[in-house]
């Protein structure tokens, strides 16, 4: 079953350029709510999984809060051809089983919160649904997941970005070339994709980014 319309299921081809694209700041209501949830830790450390490219800023900020930070750049990993299998038409398609054999090997209920960023918009189609299912298992009950989705008005050329948390409600976006927007999720797609989560809270930003805070 396909969850989305847009660029279809083809793998993205890395693109060059935009190496010197400047960072932009955006205030992020969803992130603010997400970060407020991290403040309350008991005897054990809060565990957060960051699924974006490694951000020293995020790690510094979160560890200063006493949080245990895990980081996996899953979009970069998904581009590795080791995880792909050849289709009948000769094209390569990512095999989720191969991918998960070497990535996201965590126990159930491992994380208190997950930063998913806008990774879902850029992932190979075959990985999106299995990945969300896995994240739901890895997240503790009542744990939060923060995801961003581009709206139709954001445009097909929307750049993938590394997200740096510079303040608890402010992000700095650093464009990373080489990834192509694969699809646009609308609200119904998002609700279907994250249907196993207990609740979903939507925030629509002025920059055509839809922030969604999911609670398991």
């Amino acid at each position: 079953m396909r969850w989305f319309r847009g660029a279809g299921g083809s793998q993205s081809k890395p693109e060059e350029g935009n190496k010197s694209a400047p960072r932009t700041r955006r205030t992020c209501i969803g992130l603010g709510e997400f970060m407020r949830g991290l403040g309350s830790s008991g005897e054990r450390k809060t565990c957060v999984l960051d699924l974006g490219p490694t951000s020293p800023t995020n790690i510094a900020l979160l560890t200063e809060m006493g949080v245990r930070v895990s980081n996996e750049d899953i979009l970069r990993e998904s581009q590795d051809e080791r995880y792909s299998v050849k289709q009948e038409d000769g094209t390569l398609q990512l095999d989720p089983a191969k991918f998960f054999a070497e990535n996201l090997n965590y126990a159930a209920d491992q994380f208190d919160a997950i930063l998913f960023w806008d990774v879902a918009d850029y992932l190979p189609e075959s990985l999106v649904k299995p990945l969300v299912e896995r994240l739901q298992v890895m997240l503790k009950p009542k744990g939060h997941l923060l995801a961003f989705f581009h709206t139709k008005d954001a445009g097909a050329e929307s750049l993938y970005s590394r997200h740096h948390i510079v303040q608890k409600d402010t992000l700095e976006l650093e464009p990373i070339p080489g990834f192509k927007l694969q699809r646009i999720f609308n609200n119904r797609h998002i609700e279907n994709l994250f249907k196993d989560f207990a609740s979903r809270k939507f925030f629509l930003g002025r920059d055509n980014i839809r922030e969604v805070l999911m609670v398991r």
């Binding site: 830790s41 565990c47 790690i59 245990r68 895990s70 491992q110 009542k142």
Partner: protein
């Protein structure tokens, strides 16, 4: 009148505090080639002292590496590395598949394994680290690739956490696994001992 002797014109020892040592350490042996080595290493803030051990990029080691001096490691290691209260610098050519225990650690190369440091860990921009880090302080340069978990601990916690690593490493080696890396060293999953009570107390 005093006449200078020929040996007075000889260059001074690299380590002025230990001029009379008959057996120089590894780095002192390589003293004449130090400028060449320095050219290969990145321009980092870490000093090249005479008492720092040096393992070159052509060296491959399988097994347990222990020591009681600072070490610059640019070769390949598979097994465990335990430097106790000393510093370890992994050069740009370093390829490590090992659990690492040290005071301070600077990584320029590639490491697959868990790291326990009582002091400070620095991940430089050229580094790739796949594994969990437990340390007091960490510095990550922009561009470093990291896959794993970072746990910032108090000094006492880090020392306590290091003990099981050393015990496990020695147990693994004594069991005849000296030619292969231990599975614990390359386990990337985060430990389950630090689960939080996030949001529950709200």
């Amino acid at each position: 009148m005093w006449k200078p002797r020929p040996e007075d014109n000889k260059p001074m020892s690299m380590n002025p505090t230990q001029p009379a040592q008959p057996v120089p350490p590894a780095a002192a042996v390589a003293a004449p080639s130090i400028p060449t080595q320095h050219k290969e290493t990145p321009k980092a803030s870490e000093p090249h002292r005479a008492d720092v051990g040096h393992i070159g990029k052509s060296v491959q080691i399988k097994g347990e590496l222990t020591g009681s001096e600072d070490l610059y490691l640019d070769g390949s290691i598979e097994g465990t590395i335990d430097l106790r209260d000393h510093s370890l610098i992994i050069g740009p050519n370093g390829k490590i598949k090992a659990g690492i225990s040290a005071r301070d650690l600077v990584v320029h190369g590639r490491v697959e394994g868990n790291i326990t440091a009582t002091g400070r860990v620095e991940l430089r921009k050229s580094c790739t680290l796949i594994g969990d880090v437990s340390t007091q302080r960490i510095v990550i340069e922009d561009g470093a690739f990291f896959k794993g978990a970072i746990d910032i601990k108090e000094k006492a916690q880090v020392v306590e956490a290091r003990k099981p690593l050393a015990v496990a490493a020695s147990a693994g080696m004594s069991a005849g696994s000296g030619t292969s890396s231990s599975s614990s060293a390359t386990s990337y999953s985060a430990s389950s001992d630090s689960q939080g009570s996030f949001l529950d107390s709200k």
